[in-house]
């Protein structure tokens, strides 16, 4: 009998335990959701107060919590808000990265917010392009004497960038090996003569670009200028926008060496605008990097 009574107690005890653990788990989830809500509100509050560091601090905590809760929709929402914070600090690239990650999640969950975010990204990319163009203009408007005063360009940093640019013109790949030759310029000139003979305009344009790059390396800047100009005109005639932009950047770099700041501005701005139209981010980044190297080193 006693044993039977103990058995009943055991059953009752187990039932209470089951009920209590469910209760506690539910409570925990409620509290976590409440905490997330509070963190998000604090983050947004600081964002509105332009206290971006504090805002990011709370949003990051919130982000970690969403990962624990495996709540993808909220994770994307916080990433989106963090993107807003970076946008306010004018760290546009970082903002776009956060937006893109949020968009990726919205897409995977088929959230109705995805279209709105996609539009926002487009707008922000336009802002980014406008800022880059204005930066180029600002840099190029710097006065010549400021640069000339004991200014020495570190060719070790510039030349590999020019080579990378030239390498972006596909048709130069085959001729690139000529530059390894001792008599590179003679080889390039011979090839150029042949390209004219057979009417290979693409070959002519590429070879002029390589000849310019070679002359630049030899510090024959006037020759380089002439070759780059020819190349630019030939690529323009061929309608090859990417190669045309590359020729413009090399021309712009030569303008810089020769102190023609208007030329720098026109060529760099024109090239970057073309890369943007082509949506060639890599080339655009390389152009900006080259310009930064010229002005900041």
């Amino acid at each position: 009998m006693i044993l039977q009574i103990f058995g009943v107690f055991d059953i009752l005890k187990k039932k209470e335990e089951d009920e209590s653990i469910d209760y506690y788990l539910q409570r925990l989830a409620d509290l976590q959701n409440e905490e997330l809500d509070i963190l998000l509100n604090i983050g947004t509050y600081y964002l509105n107060q332009s206290d971006y560091d504090e805002s990011l601090k709370y949003l990051e905590k919130g982000l970690r919590l969403t990962l624990d809760l495996k709540d993808e929709e909220l994770e994307a929402f916080i990433l989106d808000t963090m993107g807003d914070v970076y946008l306010n600090t004018r760290d546009i690239s970082q903002a776009i990265e956060y937006y893109m990650e949020a968009l990726r999640i919205y897409r995977s969950t088929n959230s109705p917010l995805k279209d709105e975010l996609r539009e926002k990204i487009k707008e922000v990319e336009k802002i980014k392009e406008a800022i880059e163009i204005s930066e180029i203009n600002k840099m190029a408007e710097r006065s010549v004497p400021e640069i000339e005063a004991d200014y020495e360009i570190d060719m070790g940093k510039i030349l590999p960038k020019l080579d990378r640019l030239v390498g972006m013109v596909e048709s130069t790949a085959m001729y690139g090996t000529y530059e390894d030759d001792k008599e590179a310029l003679i080889q390039l000139k011979e090839a150029f003569k042949i390209s004219k003979e057979i009417g290979d305009e693409n070959g002519e344009a590429s070879l002029r670009l390589l000849m310019g790059n070679y002359a630049f390396k030899q510090k024959k800047y006037e020759d380089a200028m002439r070759y780059f100009k020819d190349s630019r005109e030939l690529f323009r005639r061929l309608g090859d926008q990417k190669s045309l932009s590359v020729a413009m950047l090399l021309l712009g770099t030569t303008n810089f060496i020769l102190g023609d700041m208007e030329g720098v501005s026109n060529n760099f701005r024109g090239a970057v605008e073309k890369f943007q139209k082509l949506e060639d981010k890599e080339a655009e980044a390389l152009a900006i990097d080259l310009l930064n190297t010229l002005y900041n080193d």
Binding site: S171, A173, E190, I194, E197, D200, G203, E204
Partner: protein, 230 residues
């Protein structure tokens, strides 16, 4: 005048009493696919190599490896001639495969989309084979892929420049082309650019009439020894 034996049994007799192909002659070999145009070229090249006549061979439809395999099917081994640098190959196709290949003294990689580079290498190659022997041959197999990758007018100008290089050095050449792959007016232009037009249809070989000669036609067969006429 130097004469070149084609190496294709019965072919030289078709040309008349001269007994071979005269120097400074460029021949267009055309016809539908798979009628033996390339085999004719290999036979012509290999026969020259056996007689110490170096050859500048431009491959546009296959790479060097395939050239070696295809010639091997007829027991024509070109490896030794490559080593002796009597065979100079300009390979226009292998680069497309993305393989890492390296040039050597007589093996040059070029590109179908880069006719200027090809012509630079034709210039170097012609000088190289000419230095080996003033009696040399050349093969360009084939123009068909060139037309696929480049505008017609550019291919025609490349062809003209190629012919000029060969004739300046007083060599002979065979250029192959697949019938019907370009407009008929382009094919007419091709025919008018060369000295002899040879047509293969799978059964007969025809040497088309020129201002001085009449059309000649004969049956041909292909077996393990290559092409034979008659």
């Amino acid at each position: 005048m130097k004469l070149y034996e084609s190496g294709v049994p019965g072919f030289d007799a078709l040309l008349g009493d001269v007994g071979g192909i005269p120097e400074n002659t460029v021949n267009l070999l055309y016809g539908p696919p798979k009628v033996g145009k390339s085999i004719f070229c290999y036979q012509f090249m290999y026969n020259g190599l056996l007689q110490e006549e170096p050859c500048l061979f431009i491959t546009a439809d296959y790479g060097l490896k395939e050239l070696q395999q295809r010639t091997m099917d007829f027991n024509w081994f070109i490896q030794t001639h490559m080593q002796q640098q009597n065979l100079y190959v300009i390979d226009l196709l292998s680069r497309l495969s993305g393989k890492k290949l390296e040039d050597s003294a007589n093996y040059k990689i070029s590109s179908l989309q880069n006719p200027t580079d090809m012509m630079v290498k034709v210039g170097t190659g012609t000088r190289a084979v000419f230095q080996k022997s003033t009696k040399f041959r050349s093969v360009f197999d084939s123009l068909t892929v060139q037309f696929a990758f480049n505008p017609d007018h550019l291919v025609l100008r490349v062809l003209k420049a190629y012919i000029n290089r060969i004739k300046e050095a007083r060599g002979i050449a065979i250029i192959t082309h697949t019938e019907g792959t370009v407009e008929s007016k382009i094919e007419d232009y091709l025919k008018n650019t060369v000295d002899n037009v040879i047509y293969l249809d799978g059964n007969n070989i025809t040497i088309e009439a020129t201002e001085e000669t009449q059309e000649v036609k004969a049956p041909y067969t292909i077996d393990d020894n290559g092409i034979s006429i008659g």
